[in-house]
Symmetry: C2
Subunit: 274 residues, 2 copies
């Protein structure tokens, strides 16, 4: 009788969009490093983008970062998303990267297909999966599909839809401080206050480790929204368009190198003052 | 070295609301039977309801059906939902029943609390969990929180929020034909077409077995929406309020005793014509 070895799951890497690609591309460098460095095999999924050259552009970017084997999985419809060529390329990859665009193109084209199942399987087997902008939005089980700008949570201020489902423990929003999105992330969290919210700034990544810890990497900030002490949410009794009352939300701002442990609800600063 | 015995998970029983309680209460009778019949210990969770006597009313109903041990878990706020008395009562129960009202009261009061975790744990251990109306809505990972009436799917026609999470394989809607809700269920499924939709009529239950099979019980119909052959969803490119184009949706109407196998996408009629 043999015991199956259960592999450690792969990193999950939502990026807030507009990551630096040339001068100091530390976010993309970190993704390549986690994917195996010079031995990495990277699969790009440009499905969110309406531009034809998005995949090719990232092929060039990753080549410049020293990656020698790069697949551009140019999946544009549901038939493509069940094509064995793309599935095989994902099977060989040690890192998967979803570009920006519109997250609803990712969910409507990939949802329920062999490619979506293979991305989940590869991540469960230890392969890092990153996504920038729309690619970041698509990562969790509960995806923010669209919403309004602003600071205050409001009923109707956000549209939630099923995402890829790599984790159901967090809600993710991107271009976070640049597009003033705290209100819509709070609205998304107000319905069922058990998740951790992660607001990811541009040129910044939330590196979610196999243990669930979240590390900030990049030139911007991560805004962590801790709902574990919420005493009250008024969303059940609030009319459409009205502000939602939330009591007990905790917020942390993390900068490059800082970490957050969502199980203990603790921030670990890069430079601890001991 | 010992091998853990993994228990068979419990039935999941969304009920479409307004289930018959006196003359021919076959839906509630079936829930009691699955919960152990005369040996059943039933926990009622009346959190969705704004009426003070909803829990007591169901205590009377289940007593009339022959249940001798019934707990009314009168949880009205998040502090209650972490109260050890209610957690202990759930631990002793062989069936859990969530009443109607407003599903957002269930999600905002129970989300992230010990009671929510205990309901998931008991169901994983084999205990049936039923919910009627709002209680049915709250059951899945992706909950329909609110929406418009009508036949045609429209962008913005539904609000989705994180639910209790007993299953992520289905989307559930209730009072289904009575409130003309096919359009909003299709909208909910259009974002990421991998789930099975279940529209549950009043006085009707979808009995979801440990293997995922769905059986219809009651005086109305189940409308099963099979998205497995969907070729296209336009939701990514459709403006708010506009109709969504969906290509390849399959729909089945199930009556009392009929079953649906979501893995094989097959209907098994009660009376097979062989």
């Amino acid at each position: 009788m043999s015991m199956e070895h259960k592999p450690q799951r792969g990193f999950i890497i939502p990026i807030g969009g507009r990551e630096e690609k040339e001068v100091n591309p530390r976010v993309l460098e970190r993704f390549v490093e986690l994917s195996g460095g010079k031995d990495a095999v990277i699969s790009i999924i440009p499905t969110a983008s309406n531009l034809e050259d998005t995949g090719d552009r990232y092929v060039e970017i990753f080549a410049r970062l020293g990656v020698t084997k790069i697949y551009n999985n140019n999946i544009v419809n549901r038939q493509d998303a069940n094509n064995e060529i793309f599935v095989k390329q994902l099977t060989e990859s040690t890192g998967i990267f979803m570009t920006g665009g519109n997250q609803l193109l990712l969910s409507t084209v990939l949802g329920g297909t062999t490619v979506a199942r293979m991305i989940r399987k590869r991540n469960a087997e230890g392969v890092p999966v990153a996504g920038t902008s729309a690619g970041a939005a698509f990562i969790p089980e509960h995806m923010i599909a669209s919403g309004d700008s602003g600071l205050i949570p409001r009923v109707g201020g956000v549209t939630i839809a099923p995402g890829l489902g790599l984790t159901n423990k967090v809600m993710i929003d991107q271009h976070f401080s640049q597009r003033n999105r705290l209100g819509r992330l709070l609205t998304a969290l107000s319905y069922n206050p058990y998740k951790t919210g992660i607001g990811v700034d541009e040129d910044t990544a939330a590196i979610i480790g196999p243990d669930g810890d979240i590390e900030a990497v990049g030139s911007g900030a991560l805004t962590i929204v801790d709902m574990s002490k919420v005493e009250y949410s008024s969303v059940a009794s609030t009319a459409p368009g009205d502000a939602i009352s939330l009591v007990g939300v905790k917020i942390h701002t993390l900068l490059d190198g800082d970490r957050y442990d969502p199980k203990m609800h603790e921030v670990i600063h890069k430079k601890q003052s001991v």
